[in-house]
């Protein structure tokens, strides 16, 4: 028997980004003793990379903004595939969540009358994003981090212990959700990265807040942490993932030099007036406004430019279309031979704003290009191209409580949860999502945990988890799980090599533009990689060993990669973050269809389910003509003469 230390908690939160910390703060406030586990140091989560802002209809800059407008924009951005109740709650609660940050010390940029300033962003009808220059994510995360520390200080004053009610386990990785004999959550199995020692945290409720999957792709804006851990943990625990085919390629990542390829260039550049041009100097986005958005975007450069000063009498420039549209347009321009020297297009602010304004409004971008690419963005254009940025798909959750479907005691919030953003997320809706659903997940996880449910840990499961984690040192049966010896024949494999091959596969075959044959090939390659992953062997010992850590993360990346490829192959239409060359149009018949992925033995099983009908009063927020562009025939029939909005 391996000896594994155990601790008892009420709620365990996996991940210390915006969603995880907001969940932890709420769970502790609700009276639950709460443990937070994160792979990195406390305060380094991927949330700090978010630049542009937090979308919330506070109406500080445009008085007509309200939650209904935000809801409409979110549904349009997601091409109506959004889990509508999530989009509704999100739009309604986002302002409170932002204001609450101020009471915890956040310092947003201000309007002239001293309120929180709000900026324009793609797909948002009004200036809606609360921001701090172009480092809004850092402000959000630091505020939540400092609020957590503040709560620990309160606990210390009261009990003499900083960590009795809220403790952060930094540089720990969770490899398994543990369940009791009845299938309810009973804790997590994790290892400490620094020492390699194992630890079991027993808890009746676990909140997954692990972020995304970008590290399965070669060109990505995501950090090493984004290996789809929460997605895989949920799958293995028995919870399905929904709509994994929808992966957002942010239109503007750096393309040069090679070592920085994929690093994000914030959408604020366009929100503040930056324009996209091809090698001929043409603002090509005017050629790519799709029919569903035709009435809402400017047709001439003059009108688009006037909009920045007079948004009530002009339409916005098409550079501010939702991200999926802009990314596809850039891709097409490059393919047509009108790209920039390093395979992107030009993003220019230098001719649009004075140098001082650029430095003030976009300080990180100025710094990033100066330091990493020798480009002065106040004097010349940036070269940009699409980069894998965000996964809309994720763990299938209940809209109100963030509880996963099918595993009692398991919750999910933030990027790891699916549904909220439909087929495409609007910029700024991620940070607000973290706050709204992080809070909800923490609240309902605490209520569930304190209701007295939950059984014990099954000892065999702990043994199995320990054996799985140690496998790469012995390489008999590796990160892929239990398999017969005949499958394991072959040379030992290097985790770095397998990771690179997976990234190349996802990038080339399940990337921004997809084709049936290529996705089928991707599935074959992933299957082969999974077989080889069982022979992954690492050198050295368990103390802070990156090769070992990667070997364990590979299981998750391979599972997630398979889900993305499988769902993408199934959905024979193009919608949001899923573009099929062989099915280039959005097909209304697919609107009410969700694709669920479940773990079935060693493989992934796919299931089609029908989405819950949108509540009539929410449909009434749209014109009938607009609904006719999105809803399936049978959905429209139900509406006949229903409302007169």
């Amino acid at each position: 028997m391996t000896h594994v230390e155990r601790e008892q908690w009420d709620v365990v939160v996996v991940g210390a980004g915006g969603a995880g910390l907001r969940a932890a703060i709420e769970a502790r406030r609700a009276g639950a003793r709460t443990a937070v586990i994160c792979k990195s140091l406390f305060g380094k989560a991927h949330t700090v990379m978010a630049e542009g802002g937090i979308a919330a209809s506070m109406a500080n800059v445009h008085p007509q903004d309200d939650w209904k407008t935000h809801f409409r924009d979110t549904m349009r951005g997601g091409k109506f595939l959004n889990q509508w109740r999530m989009a509704e709650l999100h739009a309604q609660e986002a302002p409170e969540r932002v204001w609450e940050l101020e009471t915890w010390g956040a310092l947003f940029d201000r309007t002239p009358d001293g309120r929180i300033s709000q900026r324009n962003f793609g797909g948002h009808e009004y200036p809606r994003l609360a921001h701090v220059g172009d480092r809004t994510g850092l402000e959000l995360l630091r505020t939540l981090q400092q609020r957590s520390v503040g709560l620990q200080q309160e606990d210390h004053r009261e009990t003499g212990d900083h960590e009795g009610r809220l403790k952060v386990f930094q540089e720990f990785t969770v490899t398994r959700i543990l369940k009791d004999g009845d299938g309810r959550v009973s804790g997590v199995f994790c290892y400490e990265r620094e020492s390699g020692r194992f630890l079991v945290l027993e808890a009746p409720a676990v909140v997954l807040a692990t972020g995304g999957i970008g590290k399965s792709f070669k060109v990505t804006s995501n950090s090493w942490e984004y290996t789809g851990d929460g997605h895989a943990l949920a799958l293995i625990a028995g919870a399905p993932l929904v709509n994994m085919e929808f992966v957002q390629f942010h239109p503007t990542g750096m393309v040069w030099p090679p070592s920085v390829k994929g690093i994000l260039v914030t959408e604020s550049v366009r929100g503040d007036g930056g324009v996209l041009r091809n090698s001929e100097g043409r603002r090509f986005m005017f050629d790519y406004v799709p029919d569903v958005f035709k009435e809402k975007y400017a047709e001439t450069e003059e009108e688009g430019d006037r909009w920045y000063e007079d948004p009530d009498h002009n339409r916005r420039p098409p550079e501010l279309l939702p991200r999926d549209e802009v990314a596809r347009a850039i891709n097409s321009e490059v393919k047509a031979g009108r790209g920039s020297p390093h395979g992107g297009v030009f993003l220019d602010v230098s001719t649009r704003m004075p140098a001082e304004t650029i430095k003030r409004r976009l300080p990180s971008m100025y710094h990033q290009f100066k330091e990493l690419a020798d480009v002065d963005i106040t004097a010349e254009a940036m070269e940009v191209g699409p980069t894998c940025h965000y996964v809309m798909g994720g763990v299938n959750v209940d809209s109100e409580t963030a509880a996963t479907v099918g595993v009692p005691g398991l919750f999910a919030a933030g990027e790891v949860a699916g549904g909220m953003h439909g087929s495409n997320r609007l910029g700024g809706n991620s940070l607000s999502d973290l706050l709204v659903f992080g809070r909800r997940a923490g609240l309902y996880a605490a209520q569930y945990a304190l209701s007295g449910v939950g059984g014990g840990i099954v000892a065999d499961d702990v043994e199995a988890a320990a054996a799985e984690a140690l496998a790469p040192f012995g390489s008999v049966s590796g990160a892929g799980g239990d398999h017969g010896p005949e499958e394991d024949a072959g040379p030992p494999e290097n985790p770095y090599t397998l990771h690179q091959e997976l990234q190349q596969t996802m990038n080339d075959l399940v990337g921004i533009i997809r084709r049936e044959g290529e996705m089928a090939e991707a599935l074959d390659r992933i299957a082969a990689l999974r077989a080889r992953a069982r022979r992954v062997t690492v050198e050295g010992h368990r103390q802070f060993n990156p090769g070992w850590h990667l070997a364990l993360d590979l299981r998750n990346m391979l599972l997630v990669g398979e889900c993305v490829a499988l769902a993408a192959l199934e959905r024979t239409e193009s919608r949001g973050g899923h573009t099929r060359e062989d099915y280039p149009a959005m097909d209304r018949a697919w609107r009410p269809v969700n694709l669920l992925c479940r773990l079935d033995g060693d493989g992934i099983a796919l299931e089609r389910t029908r989405t819950e009908p949108v509540r009539p009063d929410l449909l009434a927020l749209f014109e009938q003509d607009e609904l006719a562009k999105y809803l399936a025939e049978d959905e429209l029939e139900g509406l006949e003469g229903g409302h007169g909005a």
Binding site: M49, E102, G114, Q153, L372
Partner: protein, 257 residues
């Protein structure tokens, strides 16, 4: 694209000791030191321990010392070195080594806990906060901090004097006190908390003799000394009793003219 072989010396070891190990490794155009460390992991030594996250200078994880200078590995371009230069990479010296380039930075998290949090003003509800942009800008500069702890590493108050760690919060956390003290709506005073006095008496502001080493290594170019530490010193004591403040001001004035 051109490539060449660079010579690296990387500190390998753990709490019990270690040594500089030589590597020859390929370098491509436009790369940063972290790219080269990653290539070492992928091709020569998979268990080389290094912290990193964003690789874009935004998270402050990959702090180390390059040729003895505290820097972020992800923001140090290979082009700043000549091709025949030997590049030495060592862990931050002020903190205990865990393994290779990874250090135990728990000192910083302990200090963070000692600074009392923001105190919200009584009677001002969520959504009612009103502040002018020019009033929030001072604290906003300090909130750019990515907590890389390079300033903590380079500050000679602790770098060469382990015994000072108990009484000295270090530049990052003295700056945190300044940030809260300059926050337009922080109500610490009304709650009976004197941030200026505690800066001096509990967080060791007096140890700082404004050599500006922290400012020099800050990857966010925050003016830690000029905008946070010196103003805090001014707020703390009557200036005639602190010759260093007088000196600091004199130096600043000279620079400005």
């Amino acid at each position: 694209m051109s490539t060449y072989d660079a010579r690296f010396r990387v500190w390998r070891g753990d709490a019990d000791g270690g040594e500089l190990t030589d590597y020859t490794v390929e370098v491509h155009d436009g790369e940063v030191v972290l790219d080269v460390v990653h290539r070492l992991q992928a091709t020569q030594t998979p268990d080389l321990a290094v912290r990193w996250n964003c690789k874009a200078g935004k998270c402050g994880s990959c702090s180390a010392e390059i040729n003895g200078r505290p820097r972020l590995l992800c923001m140090t371009r290979m082009s700043v070195f000549t091709r025949d230069e030997v590049i030495t990479v060592t862990p931050m010296r002020a903190f205990p080594v865990v393994r290779d380039l990874v250090t135990d930075v728990s000192f910083n998290y302990a200090k963070a806990r000692e600074i009392p949090a923001f105190v919200p003003p009584a009677g001002v509800g969520p959504g009612e906060y009103r502040m002018r942009q020019e009033d929030v800008e001072r604290s906003q500069e300090f909130r750019k901090c990515i907590e890389c702890f390079l300033c903590q590493d380079t500050c000679h108050v602790v770098r060469d004097h382990e015994e000072n760690k108990e009484a000295f919060a270090g530049p990052r956390f003295l700056m945190r006190v300044a940030e809260l003290d300059m926050h337009p709506l922080d109500a610490a005073e009304e709650a009976g908390l004197d941030r200026r006095r505690t800066a001096q008496e509990e967080h060791g502001l007096g140890y700082c003799n404004i050599t500006k080493c922290c400012t020099e290594v800050c990857p966010e170019s925050i003016h830690i000394t000029d905008n946070a530490l010196i103003p805090m010193k001014e707020r703390v004591v009557d200036r005639k009793y602190d010759p260093l403040v007088w000196l600091g001001n004199t130096i600043r004035r000279r620079k400005a003219t």
